[in-house]
């Protein structure tokens, strides 16, 4: 019987590799911005091209910077949760509308709701590059001093929020 057990053991070994593999996040690429000052920027506002918005809008408070676009399906997925966060009002969310077009983006905020304290219109994606964005949605947690303390790629939801963001926020609040 023993030699006929070899396929079984070989497969069990494979399963072990997969279990470890699944607990890792294949899309995780460490951000060079972590624990470093976030980019300082100023862009035309999405709602009104004449008004400049940017990092000044969330200076001196902990904030989320959310990179989104109407072409991004994941952004639609997380939008409901962002609205909930905004309603709870614990943390301001700044929106960076990335490589998008204005009418679509405004339409989106009108129909789906607007969770953002302000939205910058980054049409050529230059500010997105400063943030190291390579896809949307991406969400950065920036502390009171403008230092990036967490980066999340992919749609945000309650579970990820409670697990990855809340402990970091509590820790910082404790220090300050």
């Amino acid at each position: 019987m023993s030699k006929f057990l070899i396929p079984l053991f070989a497969f069990l070994l494979l399963v072990a590799v997969f279990v470890v593999g699944l607990t890792m996040d294949p899309s995780r690429i460490p951000s060079p911005l972590l624990e470093n000052p976030a980019p300082v920027f100023s862009l035309p506002s999405l709602q009104d091209p004449a008004v400049e918005v940017g990092s000044a809008n969330y200076a001196n408070s902990m904030a989320l910077v959310n990179i989104w676009a109407t072409w991004c399906a994941g952004c639609r997925q997380e939008h409901g949760f962002l609205l909930e966060l905004a309603r709870e009002g614990d943390i301001p969310i700044f929106g960076l509308n990335w490589r998008d077009n204005r009418p679509d983006a405004l339409q989106w905020l009108q129909t789906l709701g607007d969770p953002y304290i302000a939205s910058a219109f980054d049409v050529d994606g230059r500010v997105g590059i400063d943030w190291g964005a390579y896809g949307a949605p991406e969400t950065f947690l920036v502390d009171r001093n403008g230092v990036v303390i967490h980066k999340h790629i992919a749609p945000l939801n309650r579970e990820i929020w409670e697990r990855d963001f809340v402990p970091l926020i509590r820790a910082r609040e404790g220090v300050e």
Binding site: M1, L8, A154
Partner: protein
């Protein structure tokens, strides 16, 4: 209402699948005819409800019901109707539903065409298939329900990934799935045989046509996928060793080995435990492919969903199915012994070598696909294994396989007198060597060791595959004609030669250049001149494009005109390259627009690809051979 109906139909299908998976097994165990008779009826019922669910989802797409999350994420109002239908399987949830639909269709077919088999055997086969359905239905309902509604209904959808908006991709996944899923039938036959403990040669005979049918579909599906990648991805390659491609290629290699080993088991009663293991492996690799693709454990351009919950569910399912099968195997296999012997020079030996080489090839693909993951798991860093590695590593098993094929085809069972064999194969060998030297030299004006070996090997198979059919065709009055099985085998092997010739010539004589091209400028490649005559804006239903009109001339004479496009899809904003291809039986001229460099100046990729059609045509000929073999009389005559 319609989506809820679909959801409900899926739940009913799950209940029926449970009946189908459990009751006939008990019936077969107790020899209870009433319980066994549940199998066919439950399978038909399950098929009905799965088909209903599938129809409901299709309906939601056609109606652009964006309250359904899956529809909202993968369709759009302006999407052409044909792509609204193909969008049903354009992403994770829907393609799972398609998988289940196809699996239940196979099950109904098994029930329909297995009246000659013992009732307890058929019941077990259908029950095993039912249990597999249960797993997939649970997976769909709990982690990947396509009928979930959105709270906020968007006015328009997010559109289908433009890469998938192509006729080739509309039909390629269903055909590929028919093949993939078809191996579940061979798997179920093997499990049923092991459960019943009756492992004589009969089960191999019953399994053969089903396995071959699945293999044919898989072959066509992979070929269509490769063709799609060739003209849609815009790079001019035909195989990228992408994990998703590999996921379909591994079961194909194992399935090919299985077809050959089943022949030995059926005819000679040998390799019994090996055949069982191959039947388990071929389907396990299909499942594994699904797991690798769906769990997002490997990042790939094809990856639809990256959700660890799904990954763990599939892994658990995979574990239960494969571990269960392998335990059963470990219990049953030692009981098998085969007394029959064979000489070194015999068909058995060649089929054994065939199996070893194909399994090595599958292992190579497996290693190359999973090594990056293993490195990551062991914290050795991120590595990637690319096409050059695969291309080199695949040569090691494939070249001997091709060379041995010609000899193996003409060897008799048990023992083959070597003198007769040498006499028969002298001509083909001579033709092959001459062709190997002359074809590259005369047609393409260049000699090379590898290209000569490749050409000789390809011609060798083609000529030796023709010996038997030609002999049968020219036979004397009254002599027996070649059987469908033999003819099918010859045709399929001829296809292998055709395919090998295509690969050899494409890889040796492709001419490729990336250049900047101005309007009214020209680029010369392999004696053809490409002239960009016009650049214009064109509009499709859901995209805008810049289209170039390129005239192709040879020696000043106009031989063709192609219209390469750079498309931007309106909703998702991404740019797609539609290559302009002037196709001819013995060469493709390929031009793709790259980036705009300035006013009326574009970077272009221009390629001359000799004999590339032979690659896909070779695959279709292989599948045709399979179909001919299935039509053999003995599969229809009473057992």
């Amino acid at each position: 209402m319609i989506p809820e109906l679909g959801h409900f139909a899926l739940i009913l299908a799950l209940s029926l699948a449970l009946c189908q998976g459990v009751l006939p097994l008990i019936g077969a165990h107790r020899n209870d005819a009433a319980l066994m008779s549940v199998a066919r009826t439950a399978a038909q019922g399950q098929f009905f409800f799965v088909a209903l669910a599938f129809a409901c989802l299709t309906w939601s797409f056609l109606q652009s019901d964006f309250s359904v999350a899956y529809v909202a994420n993968h369709s759009q109002l302006a999407l052409p109707t044909v792509y609204k239908v193909s969008a049903v399987w354009g992403a994770h949830e829907g393609s799972l539903l398609l998988w289940i639909l196809i699996m239940s269709a196979w099950t109904v077919a098994v029930g329909r065409y297995s009246h000659r088999l013992p009732e307890d055997f058929t019941s077990r086969v259908i029950a095993v298939l039912g249990l597999l359905s249960v797993g997939f239905l649970l997976f769909t309902l709990f982690t990947s329900n396509p009928f979930l509604r959105l709270d906020i209904v968007p006015q328009d959808g997010a559109d289908l990934n433009p890469l998938l908006q192509d006729p080739g991709l509309a039909i390629h996944p269903p055909i590929l799935y028919v093949g993939y899923v078809g191996f579940s039938v061979a798997f179920a036959f093997a499990i049923a045989a092991m459960l019943s403990g009756n492992l004589d040669q009969e089960w191999a005979k019953w399994t053969r046509p089903w396995t071959t049918a699945a293999w044919c579909f898989l072959t066509v599906g992979i070929a269509l996928g490769s063709w799609w990648a060739y003209y849609e991805l815009g790079w001019g390659g035909w195989w990228f060793w992408d994990p998703v491609e590999n996921a379909s290629f591994m079961p194909w290699l194992m399935g090919t080995a299985l077809i050959h080993s089943l022949a030995v088991t059926e005819k000679r009663g040998l390799f019994k435990s090996w055949t069982l293991l191959l039947a388990i492996s071929a389907f396990s690799l299909s499942l594994l492919g699904t797991f690798l693709v769906r769990s997002g454990i490997l990042v790939s351009v094809h990856a639809f969903a990256t959700d660890p919950a799904r990954g763990f569910f599939i892994l658990a399912f995979l574990g239960i199915v494969i571990i269960g099968a392998l335990i059963l195997y470990a219990i049953r296999a030692p009981e098998l012994d085969s007394a029959a012997g064979f000489k070194l020079l015999s068909r058995e030996t060649f089929l054994l070598l065939n199996n070893i080489l194909l399994v090595i090839a599958a292992a190579v693909v497996f290693y190359g696909t999973l090594m990056p993951l293993l490195y990551d798991v062991l914290k050795l860093g991120k590595i990637s294994i690319g096409p050059p590695w695969f291309e080199f590593a695949m040569l090691l098993p494939m070249l001997p396989l091709v060379l041995l094929l010609g000899v193996g085809m003409h060897s008799a069972w048990r023992m083959q007198p070597h003198k007769a064999l040498a006499k028969k194969l002298r001509m083909p060998a001579l033709v092959a060597v001459v062709a190997g030297i002359l074809i590259p030299g005369l047609l393409y004006g260049r000699f090379g060791v590898m290209v000569s070996i490749g050409t000789a090997a390809a011609v060798w198979i083609m000529v030796s595959a023709l010996i038997e059919p030609v002999r049968s065709w020219r036979r004397a009055e009254g002599a027996t004609a070649i059987s469908r099985s033999m003819l099918g085998m010859s045709v399929a092997h001829f296809g292998v030669g055709f395919f090998a010739l295509g690969i050899t010539l494409v890889s040796a004589f492709t001419v490729e250049t990336d250049q900047a091209m101005r309007k009214d400028g020209s680029v010369e490649v392999a004696g053809y001149s490409f002239e960009l005559r016009e650049l214009r804006n064109v509009e499709g239903a859901n995209y805008q494009a810049i289209e170039g009109r390129v005239e192709i001339r040879r020696d000043g004479e106009l031989i063709g005109e192609v219209l390469p496009q750079k498309r931007q899809y309106i909703v998702q904003k991404n740019w797609m390259t539609e290559a302009g291809i002037d196709a001819h039986w013995n060469r493709d001229l390929f031009i793709a627009l790259g980036d705009q460099l300035g006013n009326d100046t574009w970077s272009v990729r221009v390629q001359y690809k000799p004999m590339i059609r032979f690659i896909w045509l070779g695959a279709f000929i292989m599948a045709l051979g399979g179909l001919i073999a299935i039509s053999d009389r003995r599969y229809r005559s009473p057992a």
